[in-house]
């Protein structure tokens, strides 16, 4: 039985109560490496963004160290996100259900679950975060290398460097906004965070938010046990 809604490793952990494995250890580890580097990048980046936050450089041992560290953290983030991108991109491709879900975004917020389509592993909001982060990290990586004074001082001409600097700042702000959305949604939708800590979710959570995913994972358990 091929997978349509689930990812490799997703499986039924227990039937009573129903518990499903949603993220393997590798994905979780990578997620938290990405999360920590993103937070450190935001803290050091904000210091360069505005004098209001320059004091944050003290967390890194001063302005010189923060300036040195920031691009390397960026490289760690880019590699980490590339891995998670390759891993998760198939289930994050848009589907017809996503259009319906987006049209019913008010019902999502009002929790009129009966009016929403049943979904696979990700809803349109999660897919938006996935693609937005990917595009923004790509922009930040490209523009960041163009203004990396220590190693690439002459990579681009100064007028292009100005453009890269503007793009880098704008992308950073957008990424902060997507980050807030991501954290907020994970907290508001109770029962989500354990998917990235313990790696598993309850059956009720999966039934409520990702029913097609639940059905497929359960169906695979049937085949496995009947073999």
């Amino acid at each position: 039985m091929s997978r349509e809604y689930s990812e490799a490793g997703d499986h039924l952990v227990s039937r009573q109560p129903v518990v499903l494995s949603r993220y393997r250890w590798f994905t979780r580890l990578n997620h938290w490496i990405i999360a920590i580097t993103t937070i450190l990048l935001m803290l050091s980046g904000l210091a360069f963004y505005s004098p209001m936050f320059y004091g944050l450089t003290a967390l890194f041992g001063g302005g010189q160290t923060a300036r040195w560290l920031h691009p390397f953290l960026g490289l760690v983030l880019a590699v980490g996100y590339l891995l998670i991108f390759i891993q998760l991109v198939p289930r994050n491709l848009p589907r017809r259900d996503d259009v319906v879900w987006v049209k019913h975004i008010r019902d999502v917020m009002d929790q009129n679950e009966e009016k929403l389509p049943t979904l696979g592993k990700y809803n349109a909001g999660q897919k938006f975060v996935f693609w937005a982060m990917g595009l923004l990290i790509l922009t930040l990586l490209a523009s960041g290398i163009m203004v990396w004074q220590e190693y690439f001082p002459d990579l681009v001409a100064i007028p292009d460097r100005r453009l890269a600097m503007l793009a880098h700042s704008a992308a950073a702000i957008l990424m902060l906004l997507v980050f807030i959305l991501h954290v907020y949604a994970a907290i508001w939708t109770r029962g989500t965070i354990r998917a990235m800590t313990r790696g598993s979710v309850t059956g009720g959570w999966a039934f409520r938010h990702h029913r097609k995913w639940l059905r497929e994972v359960a169906g695979r358990a049937r085949r496995e046990t009947s073999n």
Partner: protein
């Protein structure tokens, strides 16, 4: 008891012999990078300027030597690639550079050798200072001098991005940015810049900005009487005027002189990066964060209900075709991860 040094009005005078206190103080700073709410200075120093009369320059590089000597820099021994520039560009150890241009004048058919002393222009509206994120790493004194305060510099290179003249250079050794200081340490004790002092033809002169402009006018008049009818002063207003000004024989075409910008100004991209867009970005993030926190505190959380759990158990039972049974141990029931 010592007295404060006088404000210098020329580079030609010899230094006084009695000890004197410096007269360019932290309180004379009118603008500092990443310090928007700087206290206004208590006094206003006389605006100074260095005038470089390109028509008098003989290309001897005495100014470069004097600069290296005074600032105690040690430029690496270069390589001769068949051009007169030495070194080939401004470096963290070479704050000023004679740039040589060979120009065949299409109007006269004359071959002209245009020599321009390149270096920091000390803009009234400095792009480097506007771009710099480190508080107090770039300052502007009330006499017009723009200076880098190296202990505050973090080596990010934003000054390179902000400068309309491609002047600052970041050192690979100490990761700090360097450029001409207009000899602020000499000016502080009543002396003119080392380059002006060393110039054998007085192509470089130093004094108050008003005197330098008046002197430049006499030079332009003289040049025009000799047939250079496009002679003029380069004091670009796009950056609010500069405290290093040129007399050019072809003031209508500054870019003839080794790409001296025709109309320098802080790039709109830099203004956009450093301007109101910053505040808009921060406001958006602040609003989003506040909105998320408020919604999180006051809106009904999206909780999984008991019904959801029961429905899930039914669904799993149907899909697996087995009655509810004791928990499956991972590795026995589910597929391997």
């Amino acid at each position: 008891m010592t007295t404060r040094a006088p404000e210098p009005t020329t580079a030609a005078a010899n230094p006084p012999v009695q000890p004197m206190d410096v007269n360019l103080l932290p309180s004379d700073v009118v603008r500092a990078s990443a310090m928007p709410n700087l206290a206004p200075p208590e006094r206003q120093l006389t605006k100074v300027a260095k005038l470089i009369d390109v028509s008098k320059c003989i290309g001897c590089k005495a100014c470069q030597s004097a600069c290296v000597e005074w600032n105690d820099t040690h430029p690496a021994v270069g390589e001769n690639v068949g051009v007169y520039e030495n070194p080939h560009d401004l470096t963290p150890d070479m704050f000023t550079l004679m740039r040589f241009t060979e120009y065949e004048n299409p109007d006269t058919g004359d071959f002209e050798w245009l020599i321009r002393k390149d270096g920091c222009m000390h803009c009234e509206d400095p792009g480097c200072l506007k771009a710099c994120p480190a508080p107090g790493a770039i300052v502007q004194y009330s006499n017009g001098i723009v200076d880098f305060i190296h202990e505050n510099c973090i080596g990010c290179g934003y000054c390179v991005t902000g400068c309309p003249f491609d002047v600052p250079r970041v050192s690979k050794v100490d990761h700090k940015s360097y450029k001409c200081t207009l000899c602020s340490d000499r000016v502080a004790v009543g002396q003119g810049p080392a380059c002006a002092k060393a110039c054998p033809t007085q192509a470089i002169v130093f004094g108050t900005k008003d005197e330098m402009l008046a002197h430049a006018e006499t030079r332009v008049t003289d040049l025009k009487s000799r047939g250079y009818d496009k002679a003029g002063i380069y004091d670009p207003q796009g950056v609010g005027g500069t405290h290093v000004i040129y007399v050019l024989h072809h003031a209508d075409k500054p870019s003839l002189y080794a790409d001296l910008p025709d109309n320098p100004a802080i790039s709109p991209l830099v203004e956009g990066w450093k301007g109101p867009a910053k505040t808009v970005g921060l406001a958006a993030v602040g609003l989003a964060a506040a909105g998320a926190i408020l919604h999180g505190l006051f809106a009904r959380a999206n909780k999984v209900t008991v019904t959801d759990e029961v429905e899930a158990a039914h669904l799993v039972q149907t899909e697996t075709g087995q009655p509810a049974s004791p928990a499956l141990v991972p590795g026995q029931g589910g597929p391997a991860a």
